[in-house]
Symmetry: C2
Subunit: 136 residues, 2 copies
Amino acid sequence: MDAIKKRSDCPISCSLDVWGDRWSLLIIRDLMFKKQCTYGDFLKSEEKIATNILASRLQTLEENGVIDKLEHPDSKAKVLYKLTQKGIDLLPIMIEINLWANKYFDLPDDRKAVLKEVKKDKEKFIRDWMKELKKQ
Amino acid sequence: MDAIKKRSDCPISCSLDVWGDRWSLLIIRDLMFKKQCTYGDFLKSEEKIATNILASRLQTLEENGVIDKLEHPDSKAKVLYKLTQKGIDLLPIMIEINLWANKYFDLPDDRKAVLKEVKKDKEKFIRDWMKELKKQ
DNA sequence: AAATTTGCTTGCAATTTGCAAGTACAAATG
DNA sequence: CATTTGTACTTGCAAATTGCAAGCAAATTT
């Protein structure tokens, strides 16, 4: 549906064409924290994404190979969304966004605590978290 | 004009509220490569941003302290835009986006070459480039 | 069998985008 | 010094996107 409409060959531009809107990275964030989410999980997030926007973003992210849909083990009515390797590889970007935000916004204490950990050994943190995300 | 309409206290969400649209990071990219740009320079970029969108984004980025306007030494008709420290601090995010894009898109050769350099010593690359950006 | 949950889709008003044209001021040109 | 050109925007408007509310079909629970 959302055809591939590359604006240029610039890496930043290409990346933005995939996830450069106000919502996609929040979906990806949810999947990084929670590993797997249902449609309803995304709707429950703090930012209150509209259901039609969510459906549209999930489709685009899937079409671009960033996320995957899979059957829920408990119920055919539910759908599980998870990150692909391409999605998992966005983790370093996520971390850097967090670190930037930590410098320029006043974040909730629990977030600040995590970022303190990140700073101790960024490489290791990313490596460990990626391993976690790949587990399933 | 664009009032501060935070969707949540999440660092990703706060960051997206500042530069999370299809154009802002391209403006920031231009400033990272070229250090200083005029209004016309931005318009010349490959992605062909519309002039009204450009004006609106420059204003929002300035209001959020990411970029600064300054007088052009040669002419009062020209305006120079540059990154603030807050803008310069987006460099690690930019680098990670580049590295991700390098893994999943086929980039122009010159870009690939730079990223090969980056990978040799990411920390140093960022440090050196930041120093360059701070020079003026 | 009826009610509820789940993952969407549909309709529509409001906002945002994108294109084209216009404007005001500065600077260069003749 | 009058006119053209350059620079940084603004304005108008159609088209696309967003966001809210309601609807819907299949699966599950009661």
